[in-house]
Each structure stands twice: as structure tokens, then as C-alpha cells.
């Protein structure tokens, strides 16, 4: 589904991503793990168009997405959740979520000619998603007033609502309580059951190994190992580099 081919990115003299290649399979949860500075988020930034790559190619469903803009990449079917909260702080939760559903609503002429109606279907999609994260009563709250954990949940559902065939989640459970971690893990497993393809970055090994079908380990911008969670857990090289054991 997603193919990364010989991707490289340098920051000055630092090779953040170094001739990196891997592939993501459809319908699976793939975890990208590795120590800090190993190039995971840079890979995410390159795939989602936030950074342009030095060399290499990014193919998605056979389409070349290398160095495309973030909006083109999003419209190609890749939906990304960021490491830090990027909600629209002055808008309500409902408005945040409606903005994700499609781009037709927000077209200027459609609005001016009165052809834009927020359909009941979209409203019910928003309600359904809020129900999924048990935040039905937060629909009209301003995003700024949510707690960190609530922001992560809303950001997760906003990423899910954005039309996609691949979800990219950058540390979805970083800094959240164990209860919320469990909740997010259940949501991701539910999505997997529905046939979703997910690529995620996560530092929490137990969380990652509990939900991932496949794990890719990165170190110094390169793929160091890949395999099933159990294989990775017993890989000596990984344990040395990642866990310092």
C-alpha cells in the first residue's frame, strides 16, 4: 500500500533519514519504533508532505507522492495525527470534526450560492465518533478548554474522520493515563477489525507490541530490523539499541 524507496533527508550534516526503504501492508497495524532521533517522525513528515525529501520515492497505491503538498497527500487518502495537539483551539469540537469530513463544505462559492448544507449524515458521523470516545457532551465545547487527554482523543477521531485509506498516528498515547491508553488501544483494534490500515509511531513497547501486526525498528535513519512483535521483542540488536539491554 505504502512504499518508501531509498528515502533520505539531511538536516545540515545530520542524516535524519538515510536511504530508508520499507513497505506497509493493507489492513495491518504497522508500528515504527526506535530511539529518539532515529528518524521516525522525519519519515512521517516526509510522507505527509510537511518536509521535502533529499532523495528517494514515496509511493502510495502505485501513485508517486514524493514531495507533494500536505493537502494533496491528505486528498490522496493519507490521514495523519500529529505528536503535539494540533486542534483548532478557538473552534468547537463539532466544528473541528466537521472540518475533517470533506472539502466540499468549505468551498467559497458553494457557501455563497447557498448550495452548502451540512447534511444530517455528517452530523451523525460527528456524533458517532464522539460516542466512540465517550465525549458526546463535549460537542459544543471550545477545543482550547479540553484537557491534554481529551485533546488527544479528539485529534484521533478527527484523523479518523478525515477521508483516508491509511492512518498515520504519531505517538497517539504519549503522555496519556493508563486508562486512556487502554481505551485508545481498543479503538485502534476496532479499526483494524474494520479493515483499516494503520502506521503508528509509539515509544510505549507494551502498547506497541500489544496491537501491532508488524514492527519496523529504526536507528540512525535506517531500518534496523522488521518483523512480528514477538520476533522484535527477542531481537538482541533491537534490545541493545532501543532498550539498552
Amino acid at each position: 500500500m505504502l512504499q518508501i524507496k531509498n528515502l533520505s533527508k539531511n538536516f545540515g550534516g545530520v542524516k535524519a533519514v538515510d536511504n530508508c526503504s520499507f513497505e506497509i501492508k493493507k489492513g495491518k497495524i504497522t508500528a515504527l519504533i526506535g530511539p529518539n532521533g532515529s528518524g521516525k517522525t522525519t519519515i512521517f513528515n516526509l510522507v505527509s508532505g510537511i518536509m521535502s525529501s533529499g532523495s528517494g520515492r514515496i509511493l502510495f497505491d502505485g501513485k508517486d507522492l514524493t514531495n507533494k503538498s500536505p493537502e494533496d497527500i491528505s486528498n490522496s487518502g493519507i490521514s495523519r495525527m500529529f505528536q503535539q495537539s494540533r486542534l483548532f483551539n478557538n473552534l468547537t469540537i463539532r466544528e473541528n470534526l466537521l472540518l475533517a469530513i470533506d472539502n466540499e463544505d468549505t468551498k467559497f462559492w458553494k457557501n455563497m450560492l447557498g448550495k452548502n448544507k451540512i447534511t444530517k449524515e455528517k452530523e451523525s458521523q460527528v456524533k458517532e465518533m464522539l460516542k466512540l470516545v465517550r465525549m458526546e457532551n463535549f460537542e459544543h465545547k471550545t477545543a482550547r478548554n479540553l484537557s491534554y487527554g481529551q485533546k488527544r482523543l479528539i485529534e484521533l477521531v478527527r484523523t479518523i474522520l478525515n477521508p483516508h485509506t491509511l492512518l498515520m498516528l504519531d505517538e497517539p498515547v504519549a503522555g496519556v493515563t493508563p486508562t486512556l491508553r487502554k481505551e485508545i488501544s481498543q479503538i485502534l483494534l476496532k479499526l483494524k477489525k474494520q479493515g483499516e490500515t494503520i502506521l503508528l509511531i509509539e515509544h510505549d513497547m507494551n502498547f506497541t507490541l500489544g496491537i501491532a501486526d508488524e514492527v519496523i525498528v529504526m536507528d540512525e535513519g535506517k531500518v534496523m530490523a522488521r518483523g512480528k512483535p514477538q520476533e522484535i521483542k527477542n531481537n538482541k540488536k533491537v534490545l541493545e539499541a532501543y532498550l539498552g539491554e
Binding site: E71, S74, F82, N90, L91
Partner: protein, 290 residues
């Protein structure tokens, strides 16, 4: 006498309100620190004056003033698209200096510092709006229409996408929206209404020259936007009335006119400073800029 003085104030409130709510579209709703607004006002005023002096009918002059200002708004959005905050403010300010320099130096068209005088009052379907009372009615109608249209725009999903662009441009792009288009539309809409305000100002005063469109004229409009509160049309309307009327008592104290002008600027600066310290969101603002 007192009646015509109040009519004059109401006309000024109308023109300033159009200028301030249209500036809200860029500054308050889209987060674009646009200091070129006065240039769009100037473009509208000059287009209206030139066309009206050439004998064209009111509606054509009025609409072209808005449309040509809008085109300039759209054009300025192209080179400034990647600029943010102070950099965008400087670039748009530079644009207003360029427009000022053109109006000052293109003698054959604008008569430079001599200005354009005798700008005809509107005549619509044979009805002349030459009296100040009838002009006030016209201004009120156009102001209400502008307020209604801008309110409709900012309340629509398109308006929400503008606000999303203001809050987090990258996240907006990440949801598949072109913020380039959003920002261009915002600048074009804002410039259109500033042009419309210019097309009311020119026939009301009947004389325009480059000194009517300098940074000093932008300051009260920016004060209105900040005092009323970012992204609040209601706050902008209240602040417009307040700030237009506020310096008026200075006239009756008996200061010479050379003192009244600077005193007005000092008063605005003082209020702005107090608001920024004690009420940074303005009176009705919902938005805290990051």
C-alpha cells in the same frame, strides 16, 4: 446645524464599520496581520472618483471600486502567501506605501498631491443622493448589506475553514484544505469591502488626495478591530461607534485644529495600550492568537 453634525457622524460610522469588519475577515478570522487595508480603501476611492468624474453611473463606479480593490487583494495574496505575522504585516504595509506613492506621483491620473475634487454625489435611478441625509440612508443600506454578507461568510463552513487556517495552518492543510486559496479569498473579500468603503468616502467628502490614505488613517481602524475583539463582528460594530464618537468632545473644548488631530491619535494609542494590557482579547473577542 446639530442635526447635520450627527448625520455626518453616522456616515463616518458607516464607512468605518465597513472598513473595520472587512479588516476583521483577514486579521480576526484568518489571522493575517494585514496592514495594507488602507491601500484597498484608497484604490476603491480613486477608482470611484476617476470613473464618476468621467461620467460613469454610480452603480458601475461603486461595483468597479470593489472589484478592482478585490483584484489587488487577490494579487497581493500571491507573493505574500508564505509570509506570517510581522513579515506579512511589513509586506502589506509596503504595498500601502506603493499605492500611496502611485497616487502621489501619477500626476496625469490622480493629480498627485492636488487630489481629485468635485467628485459627483451618487444618482441612482434618477434619485440624487446629494443631501447628507439621503447619503446617510445610502451609507446605512450599504453598511447593513456589507455586515450581513460578511456575517454570512464567516458563519459558513468556509468561514470556519478560515478560522482553522488562523488557528493552525499546517493542520488545516493536513485535512486536505488549500490554505493558499483560503488566504487569497480572505484578502480578496476584505479588499472588496474596503474598496466599497472607499467608493462611499470619495463622493461623501467630494475630494480625495493621497494624504487621506496613509498609515495614520489605518490606526483607528486597527484600534477598532482590536478593541472590539478579534473575530467578533458585534464587538467591531460597538467599537466603531465608540471610537468614532470618542474624540468628538475634543472639538468642543476649544483646542486649535492643529492640536485636535494629534490629540485624537494620542487618545487612540492610549486606549489601545490599556486594552492590550488589561483586556488582550478586546471586549467581545473570542480568539487568543498564539
Amino acid at each position: 446645524m446639530i442635526e447635520s453634525y450627527f448625520i455626518h457622524l453616522l456616515i463616518l460610522i458607516g464607512i468605518y464599520l465597513i472598513l473595520a469588519i472587512s479588516l476583521q475577515v483577514t486579521v480576526g478570522f484568518t489571522g493575517l496581520f494585514n496592514l495594507g487595508h488602507i491601500a484597498f480603501f484608497a484604490i476603491g476611492a480613486y477608482i470611484y472618483a476617476l470613473l464618476a468624474l468621467a461620467g460613469f453611473p454610480f452603480w458601475l463606479c461603486f461595483l468597479l471600486a470593489g472589484i478592482i480593490a478585490m483584484l489587488f487583494g487577490f494579487l497581493i495574496s500571491i507573493p505574500t502567501n508564505k509570509l506570517k505575522g510581522d513579515y506579512l504585516a511589513l509586506a502589506t504595509l509596503a504595498f500601502s506605501f506603493v499605492v500611496y506613492a502611485i497616487t502621489l506621483n501619477w500626476m496625469s491620473l490622480t493629480r498627485g498631491p492636488l487630489g481629485l475634487s468635485g467628485i459627483p454625489k451618487p444618482v441612482i435611478f434618477g434619485i440624487s443622493f446629494s443631501s447628507n441625509f439621503s447619503f446617510m440612508i445610502l451609507t446605512a443600506l450599504i453598511t447593513l448589506a456589507s455586515y450581513y454578507i460578511i456575517k454570512k461568510i464567516v458563519a459558513s463552513p468556509f468561514g470556519k475553514a478560515l478560522e482553522a487556517t488562523r488557528d493552525d495552518e499546517l493542520a488545516t492543510r493536513n485535512l486536505g484544505k488549500s490554505t493558499f486559496k483560503m488566504k487569497s479569498f480572505a484578502l480578496a473579500i476584505s479588499a472588496f469591502f474596503a474598496g466599497i468603503a472607499g467608493s462611499l468616502y470619495a463622493p461623501y467628502i467630494t475630494f480625495i488626495d493621497p494624504s487621506s490614505f496613509t498609515l495614520m488613517q489605518l490606526i483607528p481602524i486597527l484600534c477598532i478591530v482590536i478593541i472590539g475583539g478579534l473575530a467578533s463582528l458585534k464587538g467591531t460594530a460597538i467599537a466603531t461607534v465608540f471610537l468614532v464618537l470618542l474624540p468628538e468632545p475634543l472639538r468642543f473644548i476649544g483646542f486649535p485644529s492643529s492640536v485636535v488631530g494629534p490629540a485624537r491619535q494620542i487618545l487612540y494609542a492610549l486606549i489601545l495600550l490599556l486594552i492590550l494590557i488589561y483586556k488582550p482579547k478586546g471586549f467581545y473577542g473570542k480568539v487568543e492568537l498564539e
